[in-house]
Subunit: 143 residues, 2 copies
DNA sequence: CTACAAGTTAAAGTTAACTTTAAGTCAACA
DNA sequence: TGTTGACTTAAAGTTAACTTTAACTTGTAG
C-alpha cells in the first residue's frame, strides 16, 4: 500500500505540516515521490516513522534523530553506532522516569496536604499537627 | 536565614537569570527586597520554590504555575482549586510515565534487535529468523 | 574609602519545533 | 473536462522559556 502525507498524518495523529517539516529536516530520506511530486509513504516506511516518534517523545532533538536515521540508511557498518544511540536513549528515559516518580511522590504529598486542608477548612492544620501524625513518606516535604 | 538570587540559584541548580525571569513572570510574589532592591529569599520561601520546580519538571507552563502560586497567596478560600490543580497534574504525570514506559519497551526491542544484528554482522538476521524465535514481547514491533 | 564581585533593570536575542501563508499543482470523480 | 480537495513549495510567523547585553547600583572585604 501507498499513503499520502495526509493519510499518514491521520494515522500517527500529527499535523501534515509536521511531516513535511520532518522531511525538510532530513528525517525521511527513505521517502519516494510520485512523478507529480507527491510524497508516497510505503508500509515498510512505518517502522522508521515509529522509531522517529519514539525518539521524539523521549526528548531527542530533531538533529540527533536525523543522525540515527542517516545511520540506518548507511547500512550494516553503523550497527554499533545505532546500538549505542539506543542504549544511551534508554538511559535518558530511565532517568526521566525516575525524576517523574520523584515529582509524583511530591504531588502525592500535596494531594494529601490539600485534602486534609479541605477537611479542616484551613492550611493551618499542618503546623498545628503532631509531626508523628504526618505519614512517614511525607515527612521530608515542606508545605 | 536570608539568601540572594545567586545562592538560591546554586542550591537549586538553575541560572540566576532564570530566577529573575520567574520573578518577572510573577512566580515569586512572596519575595521581599532589601532597601537597596536586592531580592531576599527566606527559608520559608523554599517550599514554594520546590513546588514551582515540581510543576515545571512535570511540564506545566509558567502561566499555570503562576496561577497556582497566586491561589496560594490568596489563602484558604483557594484550597479546593489548589487541590484540583494538584490532582490534575498527578494525572498528567501518570500519563507521561505510561507513555515513557511504552517508549522504553520499544527501545528494549531496538536494543535486542541491534545487539543481535551486531552478533550477526547484519540486520538481515531479522527477516531470516523464525518468528517463533523472536521473544514474545518484541513481536509487536516493526524493525 | 576604594575595589570589585554580585546584585539590579529593560530590552533585545536565541532556540527548537513547529505552523501559517500565499501562490500554485495534482489527481480523482461527476 | 471541470471542479474540488489535497497536494506542493519557500518564506515568514509563532511560542515558550529562557539568555544575553548594557548600563548601572549595592554591599562587603581589605
Amino acid at each position: 500500500m501507498i499513503y499520502t502525507v495526509g493519510e499518514i498524518a491521520k494515522q500517527m495523529d500529527i499535523a501534515p505540516s509536521t511531516l513535511r517539516y520532518y522531511d525538510k529536516e532530513g528525517l525521511l530520506p527513505f521517502l519516494e515521490r510520485s512523478s507529480g511530486g507527491i510524497r508516497m509513504f510505503k508500509d515498510e516506511d512505518l517502522g522508521w516513522l515509529e522509531i522517529i516518534e519514539c525518539l521524539k517523545k523521549t526528548g531527542m532533538p530533531i538533529k540527533e534523530i536525523k543522525h540515527f536515521i542517516d545511520c540506518g540508511m548507511a547500512g550494516d557498518e553503523t550497527i554499533n553506532e545505532r546500538l549505542s544511540i539506543i542504549q544511551s536513549q534508554k538511559n535518558v528515559v530511565i532517568a526521566k522516569m525516575k525524576e517523574m516518580q520523584e515529582m509524583l511522590d511530591m504531588l502525592d504529598f500535596k494531594d494529601w496536604y490539600y485534602t486534609k486542608a479541605k477537611e479542616a477548612g484551613t492550611c493551618a492544620f499542618y503546623n498545628a499537627m503532631d509531626p508523628e501524625d504526618i505519614p512517614q513518606p511525607f515527612r521530608k516535604y515542606k508545605d
